[in-house]
Symmetry: C2
Subunit: 501 residues, 2 copies
Amino acid sequence: MKLTELFALPDPAFGQAMTDLLETFHHSDDSQAPYQRDQFTHQLDQSRMPATGIAMDEYLARLATLVPGASHLTSPRYMGHMTAPLPAFTAELSRLVVMLNQNPMKMESSRLLSFLEREVLAKLHRLIYRADDLFYDAQMHAKDAALGVMTSGGTIANVTALWLARNRACGDNLFALYEQGYRGAVILGSRLMHYSFDKGMDLLGLGARSVWRLPTDDQNRLDMAALEQALAQCKEQKLKVLALVGVAGSTDFGSIDPLPELADIAEREQIHFHVDAAWGGPTLFSPRYQNLLAGIERADTVTLDGHKQLLVPLGTGMLLCRQPDLMMAVKREAPYAIRASSFDQGRFTLEGTRPANALYLDAAFQLFGQQGYAELIEANYDRARLMASLIDQDPAFELMSAPVMNLLSYRCIPPHLQGKVLDEAANEQVNAFNVALQKAQRAEGHSFVSRTQRAVGRYGPQPLTLLRAVLLNPLIEERHIRDLLADQQRLGAEIARQLFG
Amino acid sequence: MKLTELFALPDPAFGQAMTDLLETFHHSDDSQAPYQRDQFTHQLDQSRMPATGIAMDEYLARLATLVPGASHLTSPRYMGHMTAPLPAFTAELSRLVVMLNQNPMKMESSRLLSFLEREVLAKLHRLIYRADDLFYDAQMHAKDAALGVMTSGGTIANVTALWLARNRACGDNLFALYEQGYRGAVILGSRLMHYSFDKGMDLLGLGARSVWRLPTDDQNRLDMAALEQALAQCKEQKLKVLALVGVAGSTDFGSIDPLPELADIAEREQIHFHVDAAWGGPTLFSPRYQNLLAGIERADTVTLDGHKQLLVPLGTGMLLCRQPDLMMAVKREAPYAIRASSFDQGRFTLEGTRPANALYLDAAFQLFGQQGYAELIEANYDRARLMASLIDQDPAFELMSAPVMNLLSYRCIPPHLQGKVLDEAANEQVNAFNVALQKAQRAEGHSFVSRTQRAVGRYGPQPLTLLRAVLLNPLIEERHIRDLLADQQRLGAEIARQLFG
């Protein structure tokens, strides 16, 4: 085959092979190959590129050996990470997104889709900030304005928020702070802030030590007394608070910081108020649950993450800005690509060239509508409550946080400790038991939850290993939840014998 | 339709509609809607999300109005930006990548594909650094090692390189530099360095003023005398040089800095040596042209960009590291996701969750092989030479840089100035003429080159508007090049009448 034919001719056999691979994968409830690192490394140990291209058939054979090794994130028995199963139309839409290959950094490389991105961002801005029609008519396509930016994910959105906050305070010159009489700069938030904030402050030259992780209350929400104390300490030590961070859906518990109180303090102290709603933001679609996020509309910036509850593919983060001129604080130009006088979105994104993922969001917004999202979210939140009650009723489990959204943390208790008061030594046993149990369940590949390590109020500062269930898949039914817990009981009995005799 | 059906059932009508949209798009040589901003903004001015989902048919009708507004990046008459036309199998493969939805941040969310990523990076590492089998056997799947990282694009790769260089010099604490006796920190490179370096130094708290853009020689390569002078100045002013940046394929001219000389200096001065080969890196595939990049194997870090000459979709950047332990300088952990003792790639990527785009690279490596890439690259470089000679022969054009790779900068000369010596005033006329010409050609949508603004040696420091052709599409034939130049002559005659009477 001539090389140029690879560019010109779609290959129906290749398309059919993808369909077959995907069908087999989806129709299997389990992961199809055991979780064996050694086997995976041996399967993929060629550091040399093939000298000449292999035939399409050969490559399809290779793919057929790769796919069974993938994590089965789309099974309704897989409740472990925040990766959504995607609506089926996404597969077909991806062909369009990929082959149009539009680059919204620059209008010349994405024309209409540059404006689609602005429309999508306006819709999300309205969801959060509820400004009026006049505001959106004036701002959504204005030149030196951005209701938000698309990013490659929540991490870059959070980093961008910190970048904005710092540039508002002192531009790109940290020493300007010293000239203002400060002796350093920090951000304040709860101990459950995402680790992207550490990366961000590290990048910004302020170091991860500038991330002050404050205590939480018994509902895993930022403790307001601790915050006031930290603020006083910052004043005393002449530290500039660059941003106050509210978490709207912590990754471990789904807990939500007291946003209205945080907004009051940010206003009083004139601090940039950022809300990380990567996980929880879409709760705003639900009439039943949207009050959980009251106060978010007072945030200067809000992070959302498309691949979580917005149900679009990985790689689609967003930072929304209350004030449309805020992004001008980080505006950049480049002679060949980004003209200052242009409408190019690349003027203020951390990334340069990036895909037109706004099209996935557009499809989901149109095909689900607000109500569709609300139904999906409410069903997930209900399922989390169901799972919590199943866990709570059974002495083999201990629920570690009441469900706020659709994240649950719990742990399994080995038979000999069920019903007992757990002291530090017992908790160490429970930790070891849960690590082994999670690994065994993962290796079996039949069902899955993830694990984390966190202190929990009632046991003091001791780090506990927790299991973490994420109820995100609309295809999860009660039986899948019961099966997953039954798997854990079965595997747990075996592991308890091994560990405790 | 029940909402959950959207997740369960592929919709053949939707798939067929995508096929039809793509076929119409590809079979048209022109962009299908004129470049009219006002029309685009009116088409996309809804800031309100639909209350309920619309029917699939309605959404397909919407898509059918959106696609004609896209930029026609895949036409062989579109030679303006660095976005590659993609091989046809990419469309089908995207369905698999998107629906598997693997997240290589964490092995639990991407199992086998985490190792595929490591294999892909090893192949690129070998292409650049040519280490021996023993090295790759030991390092490609080692625990506290990374031959490189995948990023969302070249910008994040360059930013990551600067982050590494800074953390090597002083960790995340800029003040450690002061304790070492320095009074500031800079990076050194040519005036043609990509603007991502400004973003990076801004982010890092050192400001865009810490990016020293040094003069170039008459071949648009970093001037070595200027570099030595800058180094002496840094010593005198007690400025730490965090990195020396070599450009391997400048975005305006495709020029390549003298990499061996830069490597010598970096070694002598013990400076982190970074090569931005986002554009030029794949030249290494070509036996005929690989010598252009001699010296790159001595770089500490190298940026590559998949969506350019590697021919994979947008969103696939890479940073390669000569020493596999270098990335440990920015290692991070998170209790729920990234365990320090794990193999998770997320330990040292700036991004968190991100798509498994390594699969696109794997497919291209296998299906093209080294030789396939070499053929495609050599054909493109030859086409650039052909286009350069057509331009050089015609008094209506002025070639501004001899082709090194497959990027050309040139400009059109209005009839009344052809054959004349161009003074400053004449050059201003030529600038205005080329801006108007490029806009007219873009609006017509029949063929396309981009434009940039740069000083060029023989005209002194005056900024000149240049046209910029990118020969990347394997389907470009001589007739497309001749047609594009003919379009410019035709449009130019008209614009000269308007501008100069």
